[in-house]
Amino acid sequence: MPIVVIPPPYRGPTQGLERIEVAGRTVRDCIDAVNALYPGFGPQVLDANGQVHRFVKLFRNGDQLAGDVLATAIAAGDQLEVIAAIAGG
């Protein structure tokens, strides 16, 4: 199954968990699956229109996703990493 890597700022809903295995064939499937397990995670990644927040970046196996990010295919064993801005002077 794909693994979703949760960034530190978003680990409140996941109760501190960093890596979560979920079933899913696309990026959106994976995010929805994590949200089903840990309500509150999804709105941190997706806005009210269901699109990725502009301050969130998604990486599959180390490569930043572009274009229709949420429709991107995810295979078993893939690592989907969520990156969020976390600093600010």
């Binding site: 409140g12 801005a85 976390i86």
Partner: protein
């Protein structure tokens, strides 16, 4: 010289108004920025000294890598005993003075003494012909932008400046030290802890640094150093570059996490978050001009925004997350344009926007003014510049205005206002605020991880403090997010000797140890390692359940060194 043995330092005696050049001690050659400042304070300053007296020492120390071709590496630390906290203080800034000093071979400026006549102003000139203390009365009382404009009438365009505004000259504890950016604007501030007042107490209005057309400092292992810097830059630019629209872009996340203080921290979210979001600033670039730029030569982060007014004229730079929060949401002000005005006023007068925002919010909370009164807030900043009784109380920071107003909700640690990042949802960050020798300081060791279990708070705080101390000694910007391991590689190639990551971690620990020792000498005890009652008793978030409820044992544990683990060496500095 790459090995540092031919490096120099400048000693300035403001009692006699003399400046001399000495060899930079070989024992300090791997110390720079914050770590060098801490060492000098321990060796040369009595911790019990009066912060605004002749006995205090003012240190201006560029990072070890400043002036080299390493990316985003030119930051300078300003250090001394803080009039705000009564303890040691280091505040650092971008801009070009740090690089220019290092290009001239100067690793540090150490200023001691004070003039007999407090009404006199002086400047320090540093260039290829030498160093001199010169008359500075012509700049007395000038706001920072006017002072720099006037300085550029006298000094070449290649010069950079370190200045104070009226707040520093009036010895106010919330005053900053300004550094000019690549465009020569005094927009980069070593803001925290009132070091502008220390500079003011020494009669020093400005330092001019002109390295002319001197080239960058050359590393000992040139080919490898340049190749590593090039690869490092490429890797950074291929990454997410989370700060390319400025630190203000984190407003929505902070608001979501209940760490966007509203109305003197009585709430963790602001209804105006959308208006204060950095996205609004970025949107303004299309019609007004402005944009993102690098605050110092050679920066690849380019997180600094240049903000224009409706007529397309320059207004301020940079309008940061901390400023939008503390002078915006925390004061109930909901327009980024009003905050831009307040930011410019703070830069002009020479004030820390965090301390000023906290002080104004306390004034509002105590009934002095309605929350959200942006025009009133601007008037308060002008009162600080004018030196009225109320202005001086505000300019002296959160504790001073709290006392004047007899108001209990004063969110400070060791006398310094808590920055935007809130210790209630971010409890490990609260451990940093409690234990950092700097008091509550977002650059000391920020941990934005609300899911962290309590048994990890102490280690997370300590590791973050070490990563940031290593970064602030190196001259790299925290927004570049270098790791201890990467800093060790840069040092190794620069000096041509093996500098291990363990050595860099040890130097970071020694920096903290020096600072804790200084504070102990100044009278601080473990009882001071705590957060104020309003953070412990008053919550934020849904039903106000998020409170700072971390035990004294966990807090104390953060000051006892943990065995180093792999994660420490790979932890990114975060400010």
């Amino acid at each position: 010289m790459a090995d540092g043995l031919a490096d120099k330092m400048i000693r300035v005696d403001m009692t006699k108004q003399t400046a001399t050049v000495e060899s930079f001690p070989a024992k300090w050659r791997l110390l720079g920025g914050r770590a060098l400042s801490a060492r000098i304070m321990i060796e040369e300053c009595d911790p019990k000294c009066e912060p605004l007296g002749a006995g205090n020492v003012l240190v201006m120390a560029p990072g070890v890598m400043a002036g080299t071709s390493a990316p985003t590496s030119g930051r300078i630390s300003i250090g001394g005993k803080s009039p705000l906290t009564g303890g040691i203080k280091e505040a650092n800034a971008g801009g070009n003075p740090g690089q220019d000093l290092q290009k001239l071979g100067y690793r540090v400026i150490v200023v001691t003494g004070k003039p007999a006549d407090p009404n006199k102003r002086y400047g320090l000139e540093v260039d290829q012909t030498g160093v001199r203390v010169v008359a500075g009365d012509a700049y007395k009382g000038l706001w920072n932008y006017a002072a720099c404009e006037k300085l550029y009438e006298k000094y070449p365009k290649t010069a950079s400046f370190i200045t104070i505004g009226p707040a520093g000259e009036m010895l106010l504890s919330g005053s900053s030290v300004a550094c000019t950016d690549e465009k020569g604007r005094p927009a980069r501030h070593a803001a925290r802890g009132g070091l502008g007042a220390v500079m003011g107490s020494k009669g020093l209005k400005f330092v001019s640094v002109d390295s002319g057309k001197l080239s960058i400092r050359q590393p000992a292992v040139r080919k490898e150093f340049f190749a590593y810097a090039k690869d490092y830059t490429k890797a950074y630019q291929a990454g997410p570059q989370m700060f390319k629209t400025g630190t203000s872009s984190v407003v929505p996340i902070a608001n979501m996490l209940n760490t966007f203080p509203y109305k003197n921290r009585t709430e963790g979210q602001s209804p105006d978050a959308k208006n204060l979001d950095g996205a609004r600033i970025v949107e303004s670039f299309a019609t007004r001009g402005g944009g993102m730029h690098n605050c110092m030569t050679g920066c690849i982060v380019q997180c600094s925004n240049v903000v224009h007014d409706k007529d397309g004229n320059y207004k301020t730079s940079a309008l940061e997350f901390e400023t939008l929060t503390m002078l915006g949401a925390n004061c109930g002000i909901g327009s980024w344009e009003d905050v831009a005005d307040l930011d410019r006023l703070c830069d002009e007068v020479g004030l820390d926007t965090i301390e000023a925002g906290a002080a104004i919010a306390i004034y509002m909370d105590s009934g002095g003014m309605e929350f959200g009164d942006a025009a009133g807030a601007k008037g308060l900043l002008r009162q600080i510049a004018e030196g009225t009784e109320l202005g001086r109380a505000l300019g002296n920071g959160a504790v001073a205005i709290g006392k004047k107003r007899k108001h209990a909700r004063v969110p400070v640690v060791k006398g310094q206002a808590i920055p935007a990042w809130d210790p209630r949802p971010l409890k490990a960050t609260g451990v940093t605020y409690a234990t950092s020798p700097m008091g509550a300081d977002h650059t000391a060791g920020l941990i934005v991880n609300p899911g962290l279990p309590p048994d990890q708070f102490a280690r997370a705080s300590q590791e973050s403090q070490l990563a940031n101390a290593a970064c602030d000694a190196s001259g790299f910007c925290q927004f570049l997010q270098p790791t201890i391991e990467e800093i060790a590689k840069y040092y190794t190639m620069f000096i041509g000797e093996d500098v291990t990551r363990e050595h860099v971690a040890d130097m970071a620990w020694n920096c903290l140890a020096d600072e804790w020792k200084f504070n102990e000498g100044a009278g601080f005890t473990a009882a001071d390692d705590t957060l104020p009652a309003c953070m412990i008793e008053e919550g934020v978030g849904p039903n106000h359940v998020m409170k700072f409820d971390v035990s004294a044992e966990i807090i104390a544990a953060a000051k006892h060194r943990f065995a180093s683990r792999e994660e420490l060496f790979k932890l990114k500095a975060t400010g």
